[in-house]
Symmetry: D2
């Protein structure tokens, strides 16, 4: 990592929000039970239950996102089932075969702006059951989506409702990976609340790692939806001994609207950058709304930008152009954005 470069490469490059650190410090020497059976974890669950509008919501804390995904898949799918996901989905591409390592196939559907639609799912499932050889094929058992998606787009309430309806009709579990959920919840025109997620998804997770915590994902589901889930979590090495650290972090994130403030900061910074990109005449690759920005540059421009800015080259766009991904976060500083904007202006003359 070039110390002099300013980085927009990822949304997990800093530690934790200072309130989290001070709460961890304050509670450090209290003795508690392990494995998230402590009072902090319980207090965090209470906060999340309120936001979900249900005293019955079950909340399990895990350490990381890949972990949450494969533990949920492993707990809910039977051996003959696979999980439907966008071909751009994190579980299909970036998680080192974690889903397959649990014995399940990822059944991909082409994405549109990172999303899959209720109708695509419906057609996929219907074609599966119409196929006379379907008993020789992996049956769809779950739909996996991310909110926001890998491309920073945000499902609308209407889109989510339709997905939920299809999933219930077709007897599929709907799982929403909210690794960056703060950045959709805080989006001004977002209309999908935690309450909606609780009602429409069967399981969803609230990301901590990319949203201000040191680490941690809160997996939310209905009472008794996943039997013996603690055992499955433990079995996959996903039950933190000092679970209190997860409890304190999520309690803090859901106190005084911190989670939304964190999300809002990331979006505001992203909006500022998106505006400048368009003002300077560059082309947005995706009309994203969350803390991820995708735009195209020529290879020469990309090399120039890389001199002072860290970012991710997402994919080839054309023979000459590449897609650049920038990520902002709760920790993005004003002056970092200023330097980026200056660099973007300079690219016009490259």
């Amino acid at each position: 990592m070039n110390e002099k470069k300013i980085s927009f490469a990822a949304d997990y490059e800093e530690g934790a929000h200072h309130t989290i650190i001070s709460n961890l410090t304050r509670t450090n020497l209290l003795k508690t039970a392990g494995f998230c059976e402590d009072e902090f974890s319980e207090a965090a669950r209470k906060k999340i239950r309120e936001l979900c509008g249900s005293n019955d919501a079950e909340i399990y804390f895990m350490v990381g996102g890949t972990q949450a995904n494969f533990v949920v898949v492993s707990a809910l799918l039977r051996s003959y089932q696979g999980v439907i996901a966008a071909d751009s989905g994190h579980i299909n591409l970036r998680e080192a075969g974690a889903i397959e390592a649990t014995g399940h196939k990822v059944l991909t559907i082409p994405h549109v702006d990172g999303k899959i639609s209720a109708n695509d799912v419906k057609i996929f499932v219907e074609q599966f059951y119409e196929n006379e050889l379907h008993e020789h094929m992996v049956a769809p058992g779950m739909v996996y989506i991310s909110q926001p998606t890998e491309y920073g787009t945000i499902y609308t309430l209407d889109e989510l409702r339709k997905l939920s309806t299809v999933c219930r009709e077709k007897n599929l579990v709907l799982y929403v990976d909210g690794a960056r959920l703060a950045y959709s919840l805080a989006y001004p025109r977002n209309n999908v609340t935690l309450k909606n997620l609780y009602e429409l998804a069967d399981v969803f997770c609230i990301g901590g790692t990319k949203c201000g915590a040191f680490f941690g994902e809160a997996v939310v589901t209905r009472k008794n939806f996943i039997p013996h889930f603690i055992t499955t979590i433990r079995q996959h090495g996903a039950l933190l001994a000092k679970g209190r650290i997860l409890g304190v972090q999520f309690y803090t994130l859901f106190t005084d609207n911190l989670y939304l403030k964190i999300g809002r900061r990331g979006i505001d910074m992203a909006d500022k950058i998106r505006a400048e990109i368009q003002k300077q005449g560059f082309e947005l690759y995706i009309d994203s709304q969350a803390n991820l920005i995708f735009f195209t540059l020529t290879e020469t421009q990309a090399r120039k930008l890389a001199e002072n800015i860290s970012f991710r080259v997402w994919e080839k766009f054309s023979a000459e152009k590449v897609v650049i991904r920038l990520a902002t976060s709760w920790a993005t500083k004003d002056n970092e954005v200023d330097v980026l904007l200056t660099e973007l202006k300079r690219l016009k003359f490259v």
Copy 2:
């Protein structure tokens, strides 16, 4: 958890050593690469390499102990192999079938004081290959031991050397689970150093969770011993996005001998309690040396003790008696021990 009780139930009931907290706070807003590719993780690796006496030692940081165990097993065993462990071993009893979930059988050998001997392993393997049906049985591929053991006993250098020799003769991986390693390294008469572990084991882990860290295990192995290990770690959800938090913690633990100081505190407190137990005429169940104390009480005495002290009832000893486990740690306070000793004295009249 009864707030008024003083707890000796586990060695993971507090947060982290204050030096760790201050180092996490100090480095919090620095931007680093993710997934333990940051400079803090590298600095921690350097410290550990020095103690292992090898620039070639490969060190991987994971979050938890069960995780480290099943990721190592999964990475090293072929489908036809199982892992030899003491029947009292953590992986056999307490990890929710994590090893079996990776597809491998635990092959148990009866323990003596929590240990298995080189000779027991030798006989097990030889009997296996002498069995005419052995091709229809799971082949031993790894030996798993804990240092210290689940019973707080510590392998001597001689015992470890013999185990290592048998493993190399029989082509078995030797894996040492050091979840509580600080409490053996700091034991005054311990003669097994990190350098010995590096030379004699193929893989071992240095526990953070029970030894002063918020969480974390450092898995140490030889260069190229485990190919593509990062991928396997990632696949099992064991690669922390903000790996820096592991780096900072292990760097801190191995700076200024903190790891040994932490271990020593736990042992000193345990020694004080063991002395009093014997002085009061109670019977030690195991002659342990580390931070775990096992002794027997009548059921009535156990109930009495439980009024003011939290502990673990480990198993039945006889019709009337049970085995009690007490755990001390780096965070055990003098006054907690004083209260315990007073309670122990009172038990004589029960």
Copy 3:
């Protein structure tokens, strides 16, 4: 294999009953659908349904016993569950970790004459749930027994009923491995019929391989008890392309009482041998009823017997003695038994 020796080593040393061969030959060039969707398989299912007393019984044909076991376990157990079995059980010892390879732990109970009792299961499950750490342990999800057992003993209807009751109370699947079922069904004092098995077990298999077929096991279960079972069977490589071969074989076995005749022949031969063993003053190790005979010999006697007879040395009995296992079958010839009995008489003078 010594051509001159007469073998009682196993009950799968010949091909198939001649009626099976003639039926396979007769139907050979008819074209049928694959994967057990043919008319022979359907006819065989009809025969078995009648014997089970239910038109709703679902019957799936697989090739082998290990296969049937692990496909059933894989289809029915969730990731947090294991299977209770006698420590002498085939799935624990002789199937190369097939159960563990599906990700599940075998939870062993000590056997008495190869059996486990309803009460043992009850205590095991109750102690499990009483254990405060049970969420960190593999939960019992299935009980696996064999009828007859590995030791040739036969569960009575009363024993099976009690097991069934406990399993239903404790929410455990009861699976009966009938690899040698013909040899219990044909036992004169046996009181466990296919109808009983269908009512009391959740899943059971009817062995073909050891009971007169070239190969094959029929797995019987209730309608809809195992969803998408064909897919799971296929996934584990257990769905035979030319399923008709299984259909023809099972149709033949259940026509004109062939299955019982086959079983009866094995038992009659075993009874004759057991009588002579006792007459000659040798000690039966187990009072078995089916086609397996266990008795003890000195090492010297065993070596002598091995000169002309093939058998299995099952285990050590004492410093000087070993346990010998003899197996008879549908194909055991009178003159083979005669030679064996003569050899047994000669052993007295060794």
Copy 4:
């Protein structure tokens, strides 16, 4: 199955070649060791070793093709590895997630006429290692191809050599699935012999099920290439107790050139059909050489043909047309072909 229809739906609709039946009958009551340790299996191995030109070739008999595939994958791949296959490959589409059930991802490459090229594999692997995130992705560990392919095309010796070279350069196992191998070996212009397969592939299988046997696949590999393979085979339920049945069948197939005769019959019938299809002005979809024929019909024509002929509708070709698959085999009769050709002629007027 409509009894009156003539079927070209699959190449596994009959039983076994009559020579196999007579050999099974002749050897039926001989006693042999189990698990393919018998003299017939050994004799079959000797025949195959000769054809492979190596006394060191190791040959393992299994029951089915899906089974052979997933047992080989499970035995050879490490947890971080996946298998490269054509997107049209059997293991990707038709085996119910068998590969994923062993924990491994199928990494697909677009096929050209059912084949993948050495160059495609090379590019795939190089792009993988150039990807900066490749440690977070499943590493290619094996290349899976079929000879002939799912589309009835046949790899040339030159194509196979190039694939082999790339695999060795890139440290990938090359596995050739020969489920229909007789139909490539017997193809007049085929230049890939068993000897070539043994030299160029690391593992390949010789199909019995679709080539005249009741069932069975012979997996061929180099000495010691797969350690403890018997155990892995057993673990996956793929070790037949009465292995002699596999031995007798493969011995028969490789005696008096039966395997080639069987293949030749299938090809001759297919050639006759292909010629007529083109003569009648229908369009071949794929220029296949083996016993599979792919051509296009309008939906109306397909419905008409289905009145008297069974076949597989493979996929949609265009809005009005579908791709039809016909399969011939060793058992296809002249008069069946005659009826088919007559039906094809009638389609012109539809």
